[in-house]
Symmetry: C2
Subunit: 252 residues, 2 copies
């Protein structure tokens, strides 16, 4: 339980990580702790206690006992301070929960949402507790009969999905929005970029208007729970299977 004066609850002042654990072992644990630690530095919170974070994750996974677990590690700026101003120093609150991981799903059906990513906030590059814009984008997508949102930023550039990074292929090249488009530096995003380069595929991080996706050959989503998930439809346009996407899914 969390007290009423927790800044994560009151202001979204904190960070989280979502990761997969298979047979009790968290996947890419170091990369997730690295990102949370970098997020702490970016938003001015004290250094992450990695041992405590890893211990909380291990306990949550063990208690659940599932073969495939979705783990959420949550860090808040703790209690108190007056209004927006944190106490000095903040006393971090850290906890982890686990649930059975969602089953692999069919290709995603995307709809472009009106709610935008905030490329002008440093928080848009990190996995913060202030995630309401993405909740609203997902709501729009569900209302449109899709199951995930395509989010643009305020410049109209392609950013990401509600809970995933976005990639597309054109002419054998692999493209994804640059981080300064208001994009989370996803752990699986990084793995896919590395895997593509190792396969000799040209990769481009780009600021691209929405119209660029009309020329794309294939689209896919990535996050640590779903890995690589093909997009079967975007705003009513259908996409078929792609050998390149399938090869990346195996390699990442």
């Amino acid at each position: 339980m969390i007290p009423f004066d927790d800044r994560g609850l009151l202001l979204g002042d904190g960070l989280f990580e979502t990761l997969l654990a298979v047979d009790g072992a968290p996947i890419d644990l170091v990369a997730h702790l690295d990102r949370m630690a970098a997020g702490c530095a970016a938003v001015g919170l004290p250094d992450l206690d990695r041992a405590k974070a890893a211990g909380a994750i291990a306990r949550a996974v063990q208690e659940l006992g599932a073969e495939r677990a979705a783990v959420r590690l949550t860090l808040t700026a703790g209690s108190g301070g007056r209004g927006l101003d944190r106490p000095q120093p903040p006393v971090i609150r850290l906890f982890a929960t686990a649930a059975p991981a969602p089953a692999p799903t069919a290709p995603a059906r995307l709809a472009t949402a009106a709610a935008r990513r905030n490329e002008g906030s440093p928080a848009s590059r990190w996995k913060t507790l202030a995630y309401l814009d993405n909740v609203l984008a997902r709501r729009e997508a569900l209302a449109a009969g899709a199951d995930e949102a395509l989010m643009l930023n305020n410049r109209g550039e392609v950013a990401c999905a509600g809970a995933a990074n976005l990639f597309w292929t054109t002419g054998g090249r692999l493209l994804t929005p640059a981080l300064d488009c208001g994009v989370l530096a996803g752990v699986m995003r990084g793995r896919v970029l590395s895997a593509a380069r190792a396969m000799g595929v040209e990769t481009i991080e780009v600021a691209a208007p929405r119209a660029v996706l009309d020329e794309a050959e294939a689209l896919f989503l990535t996050n640590s729970l779903i890995g690589v998930r093909p997009v079967g439809e975007l705003d009513g346009r259908a996409f078929g299977p792609s050998p390149l996407v399938e090869a990346l899914a195996r390699a990442a």
Copy 2:
């Protein structure tokens, strides 16, 4: 205490109100409940239970027993759902806390922050739990030796302060950013606009670049706790007292 699976805590999925209570009586209670109810509709949450909200506020004020109390009413989307998707229907969690109201302060010293308001999200017009951008903007202002942030939106237009609306005067007219600049529809903002019109002052809600403030005669901030607070300094430029601002402060 709040459970670990609360969506306000995990995702910033909720709303809040901050209001003043004097001698046990909440000021502008109906306007604050109206705004929270409108916010619920805007972000797709169930209708606000006004009686429950008013009761929580009354209990918090009574328990504190202060002559002037700062009351915070917090509403979350409740527990559960999977990832971004809310349970259907969400079961709202609602609570209020009270603290002695901050004493009236000296004129504000503002510094323009790099962190931007997200004019492209419907959430930017409401008082949501996803308030981290404003926390970060305030941090920047404090680091710059100021005590409050001036926030622009991604188009570079003037939006608001970290925890207040912003007004300025030019040639006897009163200006404030339009709501679609990514601005909270503040209760005190509305009172000041009404008071100005009643005094025969021309009011303009405007999309204005930062440079417009270099031509301003006086600046001030508003929120329900501070009322009208003059700005004494913006990015090192000093502002003296303004008879128009003082008149508005008395009238609002």
